[in-house]
């Protein structure tokens, strides 16, 4: 019953309008009845608390609109009155080779020391598997879609390779 150009007086369009209004009324009453029951049986959430939380959140963001306070200047003094260099300068022994290493450069050293890193890894990411596992539409899947990390939500920060990186498909030992 598409909108006809006859205007409001056409009996067909009147009937269609009445039909629609009745349906709409019925839906509204459904919702009203459900909400009435929820409110009466005490199932509704504590709206005052929620509003208060949201208000505080809005206030907080107004007070600090930029997230610049999150970025940390490295010259600040911590709560214990200490300052630290940008690159950690503690020196300790590598547990793999025994050499003394500066803390801030331990990870790159260990990478080479243990023979890990990009050169060493051979496994590639299978994006199809990742996509399937991540899809919400697998009703008979054994694994809940939210149970483990999937490959589609990682933040490979600090890489220079961008999306062309090779990542292993990490599977977790599900019994």
């Amino acid at each position: 019953m598409a909108a006809s150009n006859d205007g409001n007086s056409s009996p067909r369009s009147q009937l269609a309008s009445r039909c629609f209004e009745d349906l709409l009324d019925s839906i509204i009453v459904d919702v009203a009845s459900e909400c009435h029951r929820i409110a009466r049986l005490g199932l509704d959430r504590n709206l005052e608390e929620e509003e208060e939380e949201l208000r505080l959140s809005v206030q907080a963001r107004v007070a600090d609109p930029s997230s610049s306070s999150e970025a940390n200047g490295k010259n600040i003094v911590d709560i214990f009155g200490q300052t630290h260099p940008a690159i950690a300068d503690e020196i300790f022994e590598c547990m793999n080779c025994g050499r003394p290493i500066v803390a801030g450069r331990f990870a790159p050293h260990l990478e080479k020391c243990m023979g890990k890193g990009r050169k060493a890894r051979k496994v590639t990411r299978s994006s199809t598997i990742a996509r399937t596992r991540h899809s919400r539409g697998s009703p008979v899947s054994v694994y809940a879609p939210y149970s483990n990390a999937t490959n589609t939500n990682r933040a490979p920060n600090g890489t220079t390779g961008g999306a062309g990186e090779e990542y292993a498909d990490y599977t977790y030992g599900e019994p």
Binding site: G42, D44, E50, N96, A155, G158
Partner: protein
Amino acid sequence: MSASSSSSVVAGRRDLRLPPPCPHLADYRSSAHGLAKRFRSLRRCLCVRPLGRPEIRRDPHEIPRCGPCSSSSAGGGGGKGPRLYACLACASVCCPAHAPAHAEEYRPGHEIAVDVDRAELFCCACRDQVYDAEFDKAVVLAQATAAANASASASCPRLESLRKRRRVDYRPWTADPGDWAAMRRGSSPLLFPDSDPSSIGAANTSSSSPSSLPWGLRGLNNLGNTCFMNSVLQALLHTPPFRNYFLSDRHNRFVCQQKGGKKKGANAGRRGGDCRKPSGGSSVCLACDLDTLCSAVFSGDRTPYSPAKFLYSWWHHASNLASYEQQDAHEFFISMLDGIHENLEQDQHKPQSQGYGDCCIAHKVFSGVLRSDVICTICGFTSTTYDPCLDFSLDLDSSRNSVNVPTAKSHGCNGENDLILSSQTCGVSTLMGCLERFTRPERLDSDQKFFCQHCKVRQESLKQMSIRKLPLVTCFHIKRFEHSSIKKMSRKVDCYLHFPFSLDMTPYLSSSVLRSRFGNRIFALDGDISDAATELASEFELFAVITHNGRLEAGHYITYLRPSNQWYRCDDAWITHVSENIVRASQAYMLFYVRKTLYYKARENASAS
């Protein structure tokens, strides 16, 4: 919302409570009209459509009409709206315009009617919907009968044992003289240069003197793009049950390493021949490294600690993630818990239920159970599966332009409040909004039709998730990083997410979701232990927030911790005090909530663990 009702099911803040009946309903209940008989005959008229509302029809093809004015539920005939009420006493049907007159004419006894299209009781004298437990019970039984003809019992062998271990009261332990002596012999006090011995133990004031700062706050050195690791470690070290486990010496690294030496041979061939025994003879154990870390962080030494051994052990465990590049904090978190599970599970010889955390501390603290229902839209047949989960990954609704209007599911709909809330939440994503979306019934695509065992064909279906068992500590992972293999690009979703400091998880529990699926009727669903304790067990408190700042390729993780309601920013080696506004305004990536109340179950076997 007071809990003072005459016949509440349970005393509690958020349980299903039965409001006191109006005088007309009360009269009706106590009258000699035979209420039970009346409801029984009503039950015969209850028609339940799968996924639909229960209706009252004497005859399946009956079209009820108002006696005086002949309007039907579908409107028309000048009727006053699509509602029809059938009087419980005489079964005459009236529309809202004529119902009060009927009640008045035949009073007393004809005030209570039932909405024929919704199976809801209505008091024509009070002109309001009223509620009765017995009536609801009749409706639910009709719905359950209809469903039972369709669905198989939700069989899930792993969850059958509902862990009905007896709940016991917490008995505080006090040391006897022998215990005191043992403790004095085996321990030494934690003293450090800037502390005053008399203030040890009274650490929870907001004063900034070092001795009154919370225990366990200690910076972690960045070893080269390892802020993803530091942020997660900070959160874990301050996860109360996790921290307590290690501080209570439940995993003693010295004992474990000794045992590990003996197991060197046994380890070979485990996990597909991946025996990564490092040089030096010690066995890799992430739990031992955590024990070391815990001791270091709570030692009182405030100089930043380098978690080098931990990185080394983790790279042994997760060799495919071992590289100098920045990693994803959430992925590290899961990997780490998996590593702990592996290390600790070696000790058990019988299969453990991950969902109930019998296997290791990681599962005991973080593991919950998710329920997944797939419902046939044609016949209502429901297939249910349960799966353990370590955390909850939630999608951000980045296309959020619309006003956040609360749905009817488990929210109140007060008129004015609704408008105020809407204007404030316009466009803001909230954690609760994400959880709602998570537990919302989702219609599966027509190309993903589910094989209905009742219909014996593939049908369109709905899928709905809910939480069967909440973990002790709930970790929420906000999916801010999108990788599109089609577009061959990844992007970060930067939009703000509001998160509360206190969180009630009740609306997302399976019991709540199931109840709302049955129209929120007053009826205890089978298998659900609904008592005050369970209600309180759904309240959680935020204690750690991991945030990510910057771009996908170049970003930084920091953790905000909340010991004794003061917020501290842990940015690698730098620990600073911040106001709660900074935390509220931050861009949350992972959120950690701990259950407010803990319950203890009687031990399964008598031997000391």
